[in-house]
């Protein structure tokens, strides 16, 4: 029976003891902690490798340090142990440059004992390793993996700085968060660092480690996104407020609507696609409203379903589901685009298609009911059937609302956790309404613009598209489109391409 008990108590006791935490090893008395501080220059790579062993592994190492068995660890014994251990570290820290393995040379080694808990010591091994390399003549990939005593529990950290070369998007920071294993950060909401390997692109030239640009790549790190983020946390806190008053509730509803609206304004919500669709189909106000309503319904249903699934099953990962839905959403857009393409091709075959188109757009501007009737009576052979047209719009709306917004999901789950499921659901609905408002507004803007100045339809398209992250890419398309006179064929092709792009982006997140 003892074994498991001890397994439990040993670990707890060694760290949980009252007021002992101050003197005991901050990462637990069993740990062996690793740090590799790389400095990459054009002629050589240095590694400041540090191994910080807590009380127990230090006690375990004692017999092998105390070679004369006198019970004391003299300077000669310690430096001999340091030399042996650093040789082992040099062998265990594997490094290669574009596939070619390097061999470390130990420049210096040191082993110091530092006072730990209960009169015991902790051992700190410092190895200065170096390896010659030629990095000045082109791009290289440096890969490093620390396998020294990998089976021991502990902190694993790697940093990299450049000296005369440029580190392209280094995955590891330039500075040690633990101050080279001297001060371990202890954040309640993070797990111990476990970085055992790193792959770094090295280019000739100068420049600091570009870890910061890696951070900037996180979606939505711009000022707008930061404001949205602020509203986000306000929202989350409102929904999680301990005492829910009417005022707070209404405020939460309002904020959720605002948040939904701003969320839809962020990139990746098929606004471009919808705009292109409406442009291609000479859409009406009613069409824009249909899309908006579908977005609300789809998004609300999606969040509620996913929220339910996440509550029921702990094995489901929210972000994985979102990724999959992103793919589905993109493919749906592409499918709608293909449908558009087919009908555009059909229409192009009809001779009067172009003339008719202008007039058609005009009509839709003021009377939607009439617009549809118009479709049927005048456009018999080229216009698609009413149902198919509606299906296209609904499909577009579904695509727009299919990927549940993480913030809506967080709020729902938070509300469920606090036993306020209905309130959470209400917030999700209003969130969806906010999203729909933005998308509908975008659609309406387009419809207005195109109905007043049929020739300026493209301008509307551009206006809607301005917020979209695809804009630089689309700008070229837009030009091409202008050149070709904005045929429905091009807009349909655009929808297909954007849909595929959205799907590809979701897959790429993998």
């Amino acid at each position: 029976m003892k074994r498991a008990l001890v397994l439990g108590v040993a670990t707890v006791a060694l760290t949980l003891g009252p007021a002992v935490a101050a003197s005991a090893h901050p990462l637990g008395n069993f740990t062996v902690n690793h740090y590799d501080g790389l400095t990459i220059s054009s002629t050589h790579i240095d590694d400041r490798a540090i191994v910080d062993a807590a009380e127990i592994p230090t006690a375990q190492a004692k017999p092998s340090i105390d070679t004369n068995a006198d019970g004391a660890l003299g300077p000669a014994e310690r430096s001999a142990y340091a030399a042996r251990s650093c040789a082992a570290v040099a062998a265990a820290v594997r490094i290669d440059v574009s596939g070619r393995a390097l061999t470390w040379r130990v420049q210096s080694s040191a082993y110091v004992l530092r006072p730990g808990a209960a009169g015991l010591s902790t051992g700190r091994l410092t190895c200065q390793l170096t390896a010659p390399v030629a990095l000045s003549d082109g791009a290289r990939v440096v890969h490093v993996a620390d396998g020294y005593r990998a089976d021991r529990v502990g902190w694993h950290e790697i940093t990299a700085t450049a000296d005369g070369v440029h580190l392209q998007r280094s995955p590891v920071p330039a500075r040690s968060v633990s101050d080279e294993l001297l001060h371990y950060p202890n954040d309640l909401l993070s797990s111990p660092l476990d970085v055992r390997s790193a792959t770094i692109d090295v280019r000739p030239g100068t420049g600091l480690s570009t870890f910061a640009t890696g951070l900037a790549k996180v979606p939505g790190a711009g000022p707008v996104a930061r404001i949205v983020e602020r509203i986000n946390s306000l929202f989350a806190n409102l929904a999680g407020a301990r005492h829910l008053t009417l005022g707070v509730g209404l405020l939460a509803v309002l904020v959720s609507m605002l948040l939904g609206a701003s969320h839809a304004a962020l990139p990746g919500h098929g606004k471009t696609v919808m705009a292109a669709y409406l442009a291609g189909k000479r859409g009406s106000v009613r069409d824009a409203v249909v899309v908006g309503a579908t977005v609300t319904v789809t998004h609300t249903a999606g969040v509620l379903l996913l929220g339910l699934a996440l509550t029921v099953s702990s094995s489901l990962a929210g972000d994985a589901v979102e990724r999959d839905l992103g793919v589905v959403s993109g493919l749906l857009v592409a499918a709608v685009g293909v449908g558009l393409l087919v009908s555009a091709v059909r229409r192009a075959r009809g001779s009067a298609a172009d003339d008719h188109g202008h007039q058609h757009g005009h009509d839709h501007g003021h009377d939607h009911a009439h617009g549809h009737a118009h479709d049927h009576s005048h456009d018999g052979e080229n216009a698609e059937p009413h149902r198919q047209r509606r299906a296209g719009l609904v499909g577009m709306g579904i695509a727009g609302g299919l990927v549940p917004s993480p913030s809506a999901l967080v709020v729902l789950l938070g509300a469920v956790a606090l036993g306020r499921t209905l309130f959470g659901a209400l917030l999700v609905v209003t969130y969806g309404l906010g999203m729909a408002a933005t998308l509908t507004a975008a659609g309406l803007l387009l419809v207005r613009l195109s109905s007043r100045w049929p020739g300026r339809r493209i301008a509307g398209l551009v206006a809607v598209r301005l917020t979209d992250r695809w804009s630089p890419w689309l700008a070229r398309r837009r030009l091409a489109q202008r050149l070709s006179g904005a045929t429905p064929l091009v807009t349909a092709g655009l929808v297909v391409v954007v849909g595929l792009g959205l799907a590809a982006r979701s897959i790429a997140v993998l």
């Binding site: 029976m1 670990t11 006791a13 476990d194 938070g414």
Partner: protein
């Protein structure tokens, strides 16, 4: 040394006992998968671990950054931290668990049964079984249908010596949520009653209901222990191997294999395994077992090195105001100061009135010459009918000192009948005792 580990306690926080595997996997390969998680600041560890508990922890951490007042999430995080501490043997999770559960109970002091389950698991890990019992009962008063709380209750009752009540709680747990967690506890209850067939059956069911490799490793380990402790070393070796195939780094399975190899005469293999175990997870029990094996094979110096490590651990425990339980009592009784053993064993009677405690205390009393009282405790260790070779051996030696040779012979023979190689040092002594007059 060959007594069986308490599955209950390993299960205690290891509800759904997960993911040593993933830890092992991430140890070697771990190609960091950076995923742009929604928007919150990236935590220090940017790696996305593959195992479910770690993934759930990451998700809950993320969630709490945006909803910091969600007491339920704090409670879940606390429970997960306790579990992760056990699974990874990384003790840094315990202080985190303490703080997370405290935060949860601060936000919602009443009706917060998830946090209470977490506190119960944490108290049990600390060996505060009375505290664990209190938390489990408080939680069950709020949610009588919680399987996790019934599990915590089972574990606390077992260690406090209320075996019938514990088994009843395990049965309620099985009704609430049938599965490996409940079956492992029922197996343990059966084993404590001496009903090995039932214990095996339940553990087989736990294996059948295992979800994921670490559940498999867990069940295999206890199946191996049931075999080893009844002297079926080859069968045990088979179970340990099957477990290691599921999770190659599972320290307990390596320790099991080391014991079985030693029992089968493969000293080299056993020493190699033990060296790996204590290097990877230097739990005091493993260190002590390794030392005993080395000593029995005449490698005194190497044995003393392991004992020195054990003493260092003892020192740390004492500094932290925690007793090292029966390990310390038996170590001091055999290799140290028997008077210390009596003090430590006597203190444990109050905090953990369990079979092991009675046995160790009886053995300590014997070593200071108080054989009459020693026999009373040796009897109490065997009161439930548990088939435990070490308990029988200890009673045999005590009886011998009291001049009851026939009883001593009988108990020594029973010990060897249960397991002919229950301990590398004690089994040969038992053989001499059993064959003394026959």
């Amino acid at each position: 040394m060959s007594t069986r580990t308490s599955p209950a306690l390993l299960v205690a926080a290891g509800v759904g006992c997960l993911a040593l595997s993933a830890v092992a996997l991430s140890a070697g390969s771990a190609p960091e998968r950076h995923r742009p998680v929604t928007s919150a600041p990236t935590p220090v560890a940017a790696t996305a671990p593959a195992d479910p508990t770690a993934a759930e922890i990451a998700r809950t951490q993320q969630h709490l950054r945006s909803v910091p007042r969600d007491y339920n999430a704090w409670a879940t995080l606390g429970l997960d931290y306790v579990q992760q501490a056990k699974v990874t043997i990384d003790p840094t999770y315990y202080p985190k668990a303490t703080s997370a559960l405290a935060r949860s109970l601060q936000l919602a002091p009443r009706d917060n049964f998830v946090a209470m389950a977490g506190e119960a698991a944490l108290a049990a890990a600390r060996h505060d079984f009375a505290g664990a019992l209190g938390w489990a009962n408080r939680g069950l008063a709020i949610d009588p249908k919680s399987a996790v709380l019934e599990g915590a209750l089972t574990d606390a009752l077992t260690q406090l010596g209320h075996y019938r009540a514990a088994e009843a709680a395990a049965r309620r747990m099985e009704l609430l949520r049938p599965g490996a967690d409940a079956e492992a506890r029922l197996s343990y209850a059966a084993e404590l009653r001496g009903d090995l067939p039932a214990a095996r059956l339940y553990m087989r069911e736990a294996l059948r209901d295992a979800v994921g490799p670490s559940d498999v490793a867990f069940a295999r380990y206890y199946l191996g222990e049931l075999d080893f402790n009844s002297g079926h070393f080859r069968a045990a070796l088979h179970e340990y191997a099957a477990g290691l195939a599921a999770v190659p780094s599972y320290a307990a399975l390596l320790e099991g294999r080391a014991k079985a190899r030693a029992a089968l005469g493969d000293t080299t293999g056993a020493i190699h395994d033990f060296a790996t175990v204590v290097s990877r997870a230097p739990q005091p029990t493993y260190v002590l077992e390794f030392g005993r094996l080395l000593l029995s094979r005449g490698r005194n110096r190497a044995a003393q090195q392991q004992f020195a490590v054990f003493r260092a651990e003892e020192q740390l425990f004492r500094a932290n105001g925690v007793r090292l339980d029966t390990d310390q009592t038996l170590f001091e009784a055999d290799f140290g100061d028997p008077h210390i053993a009596v003090v430590s064993g006597g203190a444990a009677l109050h905090t953990r009135p369990f079979l092991d405690t009675y046995d160790a205390y009886g053995w300590a009393l014997h070593r200071v010459g108080n054989d009459r009282t020693a026999l009373r405790f040796a009897d109490r260790a065997l009161q439930t009918g548990m088939r435990n070779a070490l308990f029988h051996f200890h009673r045999a030696v005590i009886e011998q000192s009291l001049g009851r040779s026939a009883a001593a012979r009988r108990d020594a023979a029973t010990a060897l009948h249960i397991n002919q190689a229950f301990d590398p040092i004690d089994a040969p002594i038992a053989r001499r005792l059993a064959g003394a007059t026959s």
